[in-house]
Amino acid sequence: MFNQAEKAYCEALLALRNKDYRKASDCFDEALPQYMNNKEFVLLMETNRLLLAVKDRLAKYENEEIEIMEAFAHGKETKLL
């Protein structure tokens, strides 16, 4: 039978295939103790981690943009009245 780390690595790869990067990250963390010396594993895990950090940063930008747009819309509305 597969051990838990093997299953987690497999799940991580499947999550990457489905572009579910958060789930992949959780699975990579679970598999890490067994694969920490596997260069391919570490490369994939760190790339995924970086991608999530970039996505978080982008989400902040996009939220800021929404706030600006709402303020602008509100301004227009008062002008129209």
């Binding site: 497999c10 990457l16 990067y21 790339t47 982008l58 930008y61």
Partner: protein, 220 residues
Amino acid sequence: MSEYFTLKSLEGLLEEFLAGVVKVKQNRLSVLDGINRLDDISRMSSDGHNINEAIGEWFAEHNQWLDKSVLKDIEIGRIGNLLENISFGISKDKISTPEKRKLASEIDRWNNLAEKTPKKVVLKRHGETTENPAANTITMYDNHLERALNLFKDKAGDKKHILSVLDDSLKSAFTQKNKDALLLSGYIIYYLKLDGYLVDPYVKRLKEAEQMLKGKKADV
């Protein structure tokens, strides 16, 4: 906003890289996924759950593996072990039903595959190569001629006289310590000399460029 666009670009790049890795591993990943699911079924079987439907679906989905040679020996061995465990779970229940008999026959079919696959040791070594210095020098000279011709075409592009090309080539040989330019300059000088040109000043510059090149080699 430039940081935003940089991040967007990086996001695309990283996603593309991960998708590329997954694509390369696609075949093995589907095998791994199948074995992982069989492993889950085997665990359910050990825990006393009814796995007839799950294992039936697994066979239906993965029977194609029997016809195509997609499995490695180690994977066949793993599947064999998992099926053995599942088979043990099914046979614990003494009541025989058509469904169970069908599953048992499927498991036998898969186990036959495992038995047919001989355990073998493969020793690999690289093919023998013999050093052929003569062939290497011919290839190297051929490559040089190609580079020199390209260099000549580059330099001749906007010039009206061969002496201008020679002047430019000598400059490259001297300032960039470019061996191809040095040799190209030598050819042009010899060509001009045979046609009666006075080439002494160019020969002097050629020697200076040669000294520069030797100096570079000495530095290395």
